[in-house]
Amino acid sequence: MGGVRVLLRNPRREVELSGPVRVSALLRQLGYRREAVLVIVNGTLVTGDASIEEGSEVEVRPVISGGAGWP
């Protein structure tokens, strides 16, 4: 058990926090805007009010991409 492992992207890195923690609180803690990311907990997409338990694997996946040269 122990902790909530959070995978962050761009660049790829991992942080560990203690649970349980609400998704919205976790994002505030890490400094993300809710609408700029998806949060995937143990492989499942979750809403902001979901609670993340100790021992969970979390991915905070950014959704904003920016190429300037697409047609």
Partner: protein, 312 residues
């Protein structure tokens, strides 16, 4: 949180619709938004053969998947840009998707085919990488669609992309660009029809669609994108949207409804009169050689190469 439609557990909030949806209702919502966009703007007819511009990212793979599910005949075209650490995995996602849906993926490798990659081409032609990249992609998709006999090229531009481009155009009052910023560009002499069926879906929604459909895509950002202006506009719109959900969609929708027509008239888009076929590749151009063939020549490649696409 409960699904607003069926009361099952929600997986995603949609603040601009003041709603939250479960997996199944959300996937249905995405299909519905795409078919509404297609109908509303008369993008495609049921029997059309469509070429999707596939990058391996969330938007293009979601688009391909959605169009297949809506029953269209859709092939994908992937262009290898030769951006190390980024292009190889991107191609892998495109191939894996094509295989899983038994769909046809055509690949063109800039280096193998034309003798340059985005970085070297940009340097040789004194452009920034995104400009060389965009020019190459536009050119290759256009030629491939025409030579392959496709009825339309579909690109994965989503609501956030279009709103950000619109904001940039408005900040410069660039009427010419605004006049061309439509979800459908009809086929004209030498150019295929171009459609953007994802304009009713936000970026976060296309990403969620892929996650919920189990579609693996390139999450990492192209290394050339960092810090570009387009991302700044997205950030600014994101802040406004957070305070007043729905603003972004209204900004874009109201542009199409109320401003696009007058803007096009004011911009007086009659440049097509002076177009002639490029002697090297046949693409319409206003200059001697078209911009793409110039880029290829400067980069030391062979612009006369045909694109390996045939009606399948």
């Amino acid at each position: 949180m409960k699904c607003r439609a069926c009361r099952a557990g929600a997986v995603i909030e949609l603040p601009r619709h003041n709603s939250a949806l479960c997996r199944d209702c959300f996937l249905a919502y995405c299909r519905n938004q795409v078919s509404r966009a297609i109908d509303e703007h008369e993008m495609l007819r049921p029997a059309d053969r469509v070429l999707v511009a596939v990058s391996g990212g969330k938007d293009s793979l979601a688009l391909w998947d959605l169009l297949l599910d809506l029953g269209y005949h859709v092939d994908g075209l992937y262009i290898g840009l030769g951006i190390s650490g980024y292009s190889e995995p991107s191609a892998g996602y495109a191939r894996a998707f094509a295989q899983s849906r038994q769909a046809r993926l055509v690949e063109v490798d800039l280096k193998g085919h034309y003798g340059f990659d985005v970085r070297s081409g940009a340097a040789a032609d004194h452009r920034v990488p995104c400009s060389a990249c965009g020019l190459s992609k536009r050119h290759i998709f256009d030629r491939a669609a025409l030579e392959g006999g496709y009825d339309a090229v579909a690109t994965g531009h989503n609501l956030d992309d279009e709103a950000a481009v619109l904001l940039g155009n408005v900040l410069r009052w660039d009427l010419e660009y605004m006049a061309r910023q439509r979800p459908v560009l009809p086929a004209t002499d030498g150019f295929p029809k171009k459609v953007k069926p994802l304009v009713r879906l936000a970026e976060r929604e296309t990403a969620a669609y892929c996650v919920l459909r189990g579609i693996d895509y390139q999450v990492d950002e192209c290394p050339m994108a960092a810090g570009n202006r387009h991302l700044g506009y997205k950030e600014a719109l994101g802040l406004i949207e957070e305070r007043s959900p729905g603003t972004k969609a209204a900004f874009y929708a109201q542009f199409l409804e109320r401003a696009a027509g007058p803007v096009a008239a004011a911009a007086g888009t009659n440049a097509s009169t002076s177009l002639h076929p490029c002697p090297s590749c046949g693409a319409p151009t206003t200059s001697q050689l078209c911009a793409f063939c110039r880029l290829v020549e400067r980069a030391g490649g062979d612009p006369k190469k045909r694109i390996p696409v045939s009606a399948g």
